[in-house]
Subunit: 434 residues, 2 copies
């Protein structure tokens, strides 16, 4: 008998782990020290090595096929499997890692070849990303940014009908931990008519949820909203680094380009929809007077149970804070319930014109600010367009990011009767421009 | 003695071929009937099979490495080679296919395994495209489109400083010949406030040059303009299919998305910079009063010899024209000299912020309209925003594309003392919406 109402793992560090209890079991690609990349599953302070597990015959049937697909150097093949095959692997992993697993001694005898200490492993991107799309579903963010340009009319007329999105760059998506170089680019100083080629002076982060796509749709075939969830492989944190001065000068008429495509950082673990099932909830009601979604974007089940209640946190750790032994400063605490559109609506809208999604594609939700000043998802909003500096305990101030600043994003899902689960870190430090 | 001043091929159909004389030798990926995809080179009405040629020991040294890299199912590995290796293969192919080749009988004895009749081969995309970027370098197009929205101020202030571009979708780039389904999407009828989910009623093409990228730059490392040409693997024709009604409703504030990402068609042959060397010329002088490029975008050699003189043609063939035995109607005849920025400037600007390009990435120039009404590159411009229909010999009229319409794009390079070379076709027919 345990004192909790939920299952525990014999990997004891999992049982009070911030991110990776037995109930999470996210998939990722990692390299153990000196070994090539392979697939694994996070459990407490360890990574369960799927390649070793396959070699040691821990799987059979559908779970074996799935484990084989997930044990290579990217998860694309795994994401291409039907949902029941991916689920069969999860079920078997829940069994293998449970305290009550019958042949526990056999597993423990496999030592570090099976359970790699996460601290000595290097994480990679979980998939080869075909295309990356970034949406704009954070309505508070859209209003806050819109106000900077159009104080009386912050939201454009299409916002409440169209899940606004655009294509980002897949070549510059990096896993958590990789340093990000401050971009050079064209900027136009206030009052000037001629731009200069300078380092960005208004470097920012954006707090987003990332969605990994499972399965392809064919050219010309839309994904019906009732089928959209089948196309979710899982979720991650996503930092859409943004150079606001480059953006202001370049973005008309075709949208953001160099202001965004120098780097995007993701947390490397793919947290599955199954792990997040307890945190699914109703899509928050639209404000009074807002239009209903067009029929192709409306599904009763999606409205009732298609939103996720995931707390999102963004922290700043400066060089001075680190030198003074100060903890990171919390810049904002938000929630995925600030999405105006559900993930299913994003997927369906993306394909309504016949556009093909492919396994391993990545969607970003757009910046998920909340309605209050302590729940904002970017410095642009926090500093009111660079006009009000944020004060830190180190005595420093920030309107935008300085060299050496580190941004850390975290996620947390909480519900009575369940252990809290997280996503791992999405972390990046700013290097000086070249 | 030949009657021309240039070299001829023993593949006699090459010697008066519209597109593929000996001097062209573009690379592509094709499937001979019943065989898997492999690399080949277009020569007249045939495709020189690089896989057969490698097996039959026609190459050695650097040319052999390059032929091996080019003979697989995509050209990415070939594009990753240094320029001199790619050039060594071209030099050897020029030698092998020349009328004066010493061991001609040996080649001819290899028959259709070496020279595949192009008419029975299926063409594929030449490379696995990592990222696709579309620019907006056609200044006449930018002015024409800008006038529809802002008659007095068609060009935005950034246009003459920033090579405007945005990311397109790589999953929906198709080789010439694949039919394109009319997209569904949200459209807002004039005078309405609520959009509807309808087939696009304003379907259009855009006439563009495509540029295939060779070699990667590392994260954070800009490509200097003097080095930019080393990153060109070659060129193609590109049709940036566009749904103008979807575009008008969705594109603010983040740019085109579903209006473009349902399909992009490219001609499948990669015409190399070496083949186009005779047609390189000075970048046309900027109009009086225009600013000079910022220093990072300025290179004297690029200004002197960085533009290409390539004639671009777009034709419309409707179902009724075909039924009446009428030839296609020429919609426009333009030229790549209508680019406001050189290809080197596009590559350098794209990487100025440290954005990584990768071998096999694709750039589009944007619509290359000329200054006159017979040189426009889209129906949006030809029909003045849908207000003036184009009359066809079949008795039909068009403001935008009808189901069954076929768009055919062609390119032609001409210069005294050289055979004219072309790009092959970029062709696509419109299917009714689903």
């Amino acid at each position: 008998m345990t004192s909790t109402t939920y299952r525990l793992s014999w990997v004891t560090s999992a049982n009070d782990h911030r991110d990776f209890p037995l109930q999470n079991l996210p998939f990722g690609i990692f390299s153990p020290e000196g070994l090539p990349p392979r697939g694994g599953v996070a459990i407490g302070d360890f990574i369960f090595d799927l390649q070793t597990a396959v070699e040691n015959s821990l799987f059979s049937g559908e779970a074996l096929s799935a484990a084989q697909a997930a044990s290579g150097k990217s998860l694309n093949a795994f994401f291409s499997l039907p949902g029941n095959a991916r689920l069969a692997l999860r079920e078997r992993l829940l069994e293998l890692l449970d305290t009550d697993y019958a042949q526990l001694k056999n597993l423990q005898a496999q030592g570090e070849a099976l359970l790699r200490p996460a601290s000595v492993c290097k994480m990679h991107l979980p998939a080869k990303i075909g295309d990356y799309t970034d949406f704009y579903t954070g309505i508070h963010h859209a209003i806050n940014v819109g106000k900077l340009f159009r104080p009386d009319n912050p939201l454009l007329p299409n916002y409440k009908y169209v899940p606004i999105g655009y294509h980002g760059r897949s070549s510059t998506i990096y896993p958590s931990g990789l340093a990000v170089r401050r971009p050079m680019g064209q900027t136009l100083k206030p009052g000037q008519e001629v731009p200069a080629h300078t380092p960005s002076a208004r470097l920012d982060y954006e707090l987003e949820l990332g969605i990994w796509i499972a399965g392809n749709n064919q050219q010309g075939e839309a994904i019906h909203i009732a089928d959209a969830y089948k196309h979710i492989a899982g979720f991650c944190l996503l930092n859409d680094w943004s150079a606001r001065d480059l953006q202001a000068w370049e973005y008309q008429p075709l949208g953001p380009f160099l202001a965004k495509n120098f780097a995007t950082t993701v947390s490397p673990w793919v947290v599955t929809a199954e792990a997040l099932a307890p945190y699914r909830t109703a899509q928050p009601a639209r404000p009074e007077g807002d239009p209903q979604p067009l029929p192709y974007l409306y599904d009763a089940a999606d409205q009732t149970n298609g939103a996720f209640d995931i707390e999102l946190e963004v922290l700043l750790h400066t060089t001075a804070q680190k030198a003074q032994g100060l903890p990171p400063h919390r810049l904002g605490l938000s929630n995925t319930l600030n999405m105006y559109w559900t993930v299913a609506q994003l997927i369906t809208h993306h394909t309504v014109n016949g556009c093909s999604l492919r396994s391993g594609d990545l969607l970003g939700t757009g910046t998920l600010s909340g309605p209050t000043s302590d729940s904002l998802g970017s410095l642009l909003e926090l500093s009111n367009g660079g006009k009000q500096a944020i004060k830190l305990d180190s005595g420093e101030e920030r309107c935008f990011l300085a060299d050496g600043d580190e941004i850390i994003m975290l996620a947390r899902c909480k519900k009575d009767g369940h252990p809290s689960i997280g996503f791992g870190e999405c972390r990046g430090v700013i290097l000086a421009a070249k």
